[in-house]
């Protein structure tokens, strides 16, 4: 599904952030991506999501060499990937419901076909009563859950999450982890970037550990 071969990345003429990163993600797998702050977790996620191009090495996503893809081809692949950002990236002028429904709207689906699905998912992540609320009045935890709901609404084949439980209380964190596990059980590969050891300890999943630009699998 995902293959990195000797991938290196540097911003401009600065030092290499990632060096000779090589790993393989098989369909249906669950990984944690961890490492100290500034180790390059978010950068690696951006490479996985094709919003950055590697300085060297090869990246294959769903069997496609991302260097050979057109922007339309990258967009097509992104529809098969859900991503949760640390800073949520919700659109302020859209309601929670509209934010969550955005990927389906982009796919060209009819609103009548997904109306119930979006509402059910929002209820499931505990935002049933915040359907019509705008992001500016949501708490950090609520924004996080809305962002996660947006990432998973399209039933992605790969889910990437950057510190998905960073802003939620332990109960909601458990619930979100259960959501990720459930999605994984249904066939979605999951990569969660976190340095929350409590979260990682709850699951026996391989850890991709980044340290000083190098990646190690434990």
């Amino acid at each position: 599904m995902i293959r990195f071969e000797n991938v290196g990345l540097r911003y401009g003429s600065g030092p290499e952030i990632l060096r000779d990163v090589t790993f393989h993600v098989v369909p249906g797998s669950f990984h944690f991506l961890t490492g100290p702050s500034g180790a390059g977790k978010t950068t690696l996620l951006r490479l996985l999501f094709m919003s950055l191009r590697p300085t060297r090495g090869l990246i294959f996503v769903f069997g496609e060499n991302v260097s050979d893809l057109s922007s339309a081809g990258r967009a097509e692949l992104r529809r098969r990937i859900g991503i949760v950002f640390q800073d949520f990236r919700l659109l302020e002028h859209l309601t929670t419901w509209e934010n969550v429904a955005l990927p389906l709207r982009v796919m060209g689906k009819k609103e009548s076909d997904y109306r119930e699905d979006v509402t059910d998912l929002l209820r499931w992540v505990g935002l049933g009563d915040r359907v019509d609320a705008y992001p500016e009045i949501l708490s950090g935890g609520e924004k996080q859950r809305a962002a996660i709901a947006r990432a998973v609404i399209g039933r992605p084949e790969l889910l990437l999450a950057d510190e998905p439980t960073g802003n939620v209380d332990p109960m909601i964190a458990d619930r979100l982890l259960r959501l990720f596990v459930e999605l994984n059980r249904l066939g979605t590969s999951v990569i969660i970037a976190t340095h929350d050891y409590g979260l990682m300890d709850q699951l026996d999943a391989p850890r991709l550990v980044l340290y000083e630009g190098h990646l190690e699998i434990r």
Binding site: F49, S51, S71, A72, A75, E76, R78, R79, R80, I81, I83, F85, R89, L91, H93, L94, T95, E98, A101, L102, P103, R105, V106, M107, E111, R150, G154
Partner: protein, 327 residues
């Protein structure tokens, strides 16, 4: 862009969004716009596009009227020829007028022969020389107006040759020179009109390019999120272009309606400003009745359509260009 894609674009286009804020609520789209209208352009852009549309409609309408009027002139003078009798060295000009008229009436393709009196000929000079008794003392050429059957016209060359052969000092004018001059005038007017329309189009494109860049910059976060949820360039550009098309249609209509009002009120305004009947006559010679007919108003609608298309194409290309620079 393939024809199939173009048809799909037209079919799937969110046409109702063009009239957001105008149509009743039940006709409005239920979900919010991904790119909010307020972030695209302010009233200034709408006013600029409306002015461009106004100028374009005014130009197109004026050129259309001049063209229509000129066509009418050409039609009129094409169905008539003039025979001119030299008054010098002609002892009995009245007799010669009668003989020439009888000769002309016998020619095939001639429907009517109207000899003009000396007073009629003098009146034709009044706009240039004024009303004066002195005119009667001048050797003014005498004229015979000959109406011809346009479906079965006479052989002008043969008639002219026969006239020269049978009558001394008689010439025939088929108005070819005038027709050529009128055509030159209308072509010049049309050329000038096209130049103005091209300038208006260029200014509209420049304004839209600038507005597109500004809209893209102020909505960069939305564009990033759309990329993250898998939107392609076509989807993103459509989200922007629908605003510009809507703006083009609304502003274009305002400009077109304003121009139509000008055409409707022009005769009234001229009257209020103290235009003499002679002024109105001169105006009507230049631009016909001074009012647009149905085709003229349809031309204004065509201008609105072209402006909307310009807005759509320019914003689409502008957005895609900026998106490619992000990649």
């Amino acid at each position: 862009m393939t024809a199939v894609q173009l048809i799909a674009d037209i079919r799937d286009y969110p046409w109702r969004n063009l009239f957001a804020g105008i149509l009743p609520a039940r006709f409005q789209p239920k979900t919010a716009q991904i790119v909010p209208s307020a972030s695209i352009a302010g009233n200034a852009l709408t006013v600029v596009i409306a002015i461009m549309s106004f100028l374009a409609c005014l130009t197109a309408g004026a050129v259309y009227m001049v063209n229509q009027s000129a066509e009418a002139w050409v039609k009129d003078i094409s169905s008539e020829i003039t025979v001119e009798l030299d008054p010098v060295n002609t002892a009995d000009i009245e007799k010669k007028m009668t003989l020439v008229s009888l000769f002309l009436a016998k020619q095939a393709g001639v429907t009517r022969v109207k000899p003009l009196t000396a007073e009629d000929s003098a009146k034709l000079l009044e706009p240039w020389l004024g009303h004066s008794e002195a005119l009667s003392a001048l050797p003014i050429p005498r004229l015979i107006a000959v109406e011809i059957d346009r479906s079965n016209p006479p052989d002008i060359k043969a008639v002219s040759a026969a006239l020269s052969q049978n009558f001394e000092g008689v010439t025939l004018d088929d108005h070819r020179r005038w027709r050529a001059e009128i055509r030159t005038l209308t072509r010049s007017a049309a050329l000038g009109g096209f130049a103005v329309l091209a300038l208006v189009a260029a200014a509209t494109v420049a304004v839209i390019v600038s507005a597109t860049r500004s809209a893209m910059a102020s909505n960069r976060e939305i564009i990033e999120v759309l990329h993250f949820v898998g939107a392609n360039e076509r989807f993103i550009s459509r989200e922007f272009e629908r605003h510009f098309v809507g703006l083009g249609v609304r502003a274009g209509l305002v400009g077109a309606v304003s121009a139509a009002l000008v055409f409707l009120l022009l005769p009234v305004v001229m009257h209020l400003l103290g235009g003499e009947p002679a002024t109105a006559t001169e105006m009507s010679r230049l631009v016909g009745s001074g009012e647009l007919d149905l085709k003229g108003y349809l031309l204004c609608m065509l201008v609105v359509f072209v402006i909307a298309c310009l807005c759509m194409i320019t914003s689409r290309l502008g957005v895609i260009r900026v998106l490619k620079s992000y990649a």
